[in-house]
Amino acid sequence: MDISRFTSRRFLVPGLIILILLILLATLPLYAPGYTVILLTAIFMYIIITVGWTIFSGPTRYISLASAAFFGVGVYTMAILGKALPLAAVITIGALISFILALFIGFLTLRLRGMYFIIFTFGISELIKNALLWWETNITNTVGRWVFRVDHDQVYYIMLAIFVITLLTAYFIRRSKYGAALQSIGANEEAAAHTGINVTLVKGVTFAISAFFMGAAGAIMATRWAYVDPRIAFNPLISFMPVLMAIFGGMGQIYGPVIGAAIFAYLEEILITKFPYYYMLIFGIVLVVAILYLPNGLVGLVQKWRKGGSVEQHANT
């Protein structure tokens, strides 16, 4: 009796808050100024990339620096297919190409762990960028492309939809048996394989799922940028940001990366046009401080504060 009341209240209150938030977000373009809509679109983009990154890298502890590749593939899909197909179809195709690319990279890197995996994923996205740049300068003689523009509100709604789907996917993967398998891979890969988990398949598919959302976000974001070239689409910062944002927010809870990404995306929007160097400087300082003093991110700090120092035990499970 006590337990059921506890669980129902536990789900009811956050459920209600989420519902109200969703309604507020869905009706936002009706009452908020255009600037807020654009700002939130950018924030959603970072949250999608960061949560997408955390789906794979959070539990498995494989730090991927290939986010720029998956995001850029989405951007370029939109730039090439553009108006030829309906918007939703192009976004799905961009996401699927990222999915397949990630599956391919995932199966290529089976034997690579730790540092080798990190530098391989970084190398592959830089390879794609430079190969594309070379192709555009030497073969097609056209560096960069114009992307047709879409109404701000429409971009906002599509980004919101991808955002909700990403969060739901992350939530259900986390809660499922599949999520437990991922956790055990992160804890000890050999042991996980011995318990009957198909480590290869689980790793590869999860990596691909996380890439799917990055590709989708890239595809819709391209319509807001209007002009793209390989340096913009495959900007290595897109690979670094989710890592830093997720760590700053804390990966112990699903809302950690969301908060981390939201804070940085907001800071970026207000600082980057006026003080770009100061923004990146602050970014670097916060990163170093977070690594030094917030090993479990903001979430860890909140839990420590609420539970009075029992966070250590929680972090080790």
């Binding site: 730090i63 190398g123 390879l127 190969a131 030497n138 290595p236 890592v243 990146m280 990163l287």
Partner: protein
């Protein structure tokens, strides 16, 4: 093939080889520095290139403002960067090493902390020197080497790159401190028991890495134009060379630097725009086929 054609081929080959040795010498210098930081200290320092950038810009300022020769800058920049990096390791990385539960966790954390350093150093440099492309001319008169023409500054850069990396290699294999460093790389705990002051040795290694980067930066500034954002590209090349030579193998990095420099020079001869693509292709293939590199364990 006539004699004239034969001479032309020979000169072209000489041209490619010397250009490759110049690039290779600088790559070797950078990679040995990174290899020392990672191989001994387990810090994959992605801010390595920023120290190269600092060396290059300090040299530029000293030369254009105070008229100090770049060769004298070598003696100034190297030690200053050594001290800065030594202190960074003593505070930041040593703290991480003490608080990380395992060496793998430390590797991840130190990589991320060095990303933070990258952003900090690069943006401080952007505030000081602005985003402009800079460069200066120093000893740019040509000499003729058996038909191939080179400018003096490139030959000096080659000479210093080769001499510095060899001197460093001899220091590691012969000097007492060098032996302590190698002991710390092989068996940190055992070396500690044998009386090696591990904390000091690790900080010295990190400092020496920055020293090599600083030297490379001075040489780079003599040859190419520079921007405060140039660091990452050098870091990437250093990482590729270190993997090529085998993660943690200093001899491997030395050899790997020259191999990559020569490959780069050959590719540049056919299509300069392809050299970076070629590096990445080599890198990716290497990681897939033989991730331990040419001299890795």
């Amino acid at each position: 093939m006539s004699i004239a054609e034969g001479i032309f081929v020979l000169v072209t080959v000489l041209d490619i080889v010397i250009a490759g040795l110049i690039m290779g010498g600088i790559y070797a210098l950078i990679a040995v520095g990174l290899s020392l930081q990672y191989g001994v200290g387990r810090v994959l320092n992605v801010s390595h290139g920023e120290f190269i950038m600092l060396g290059a810009f300090a040299t530029w300022s000293l030369y254009t403002v105070f008229g100090i020769s770049p060769l004298i800058s070598l003696v100034i920049c190297g030690p200053v960067l050594f001290i800065i990096a030594f202190l960074i390791h003593r505070t930041l990385f040593q703290y991480l090493r003490d608080t990380s539960e395992s060496i793998d966790v430390f590797e991840g954390n130190s990589l991320l902390a060095s990303f933070g350093l990258l952003f900090i150093i690069q943006n401080v440099a952007l505030l000081i020197w602005k985003a402009n492309v800079r460069g200066y001319t120093y000893l740019v008169y040509s000499v003729n080497l058996g038909g191939a023409v080179f400018t003096v500054n490139r030959l000096i850069a080659l000479l210093f790159a080769v001499v510095l990396s060899l001197a460093f290699y001899i220091f590691l294999t012969r000097a007492r401190l060098g032996k302590a460093i190698r002991a710390a790389a092989e068996e940190p705990e055992m070396a500690g028991l044998m009386g090696v002051n591990i904390k000091r040795v690790l900080a010295i290694c990190f400092g020496l890495g920055a020293l090599m980067a600083g030297f490379a930066g001075v040489l780079v500034s003599m040859l190419y134009q520079m921007q405060p954002t140039m660091g990452l590209e050098y870091t990437i090349i250093a990482v590729i060379v270190v993997v090529l030579g085998g993660l943690g193998s200093i001899t491997g990095s030395l050899i790997g630097g020259f191999i990559l420099g020569l490959i780069g020079s050959i590719v540049t001869y056919f299509d300069p725009a392809l050299s970076l693509v070629a590096y990445y292709v080599i890198f990716i293939l290497l990681l897939l086929v033989k991730p331990t590199g040419i001299l890795g364990k």
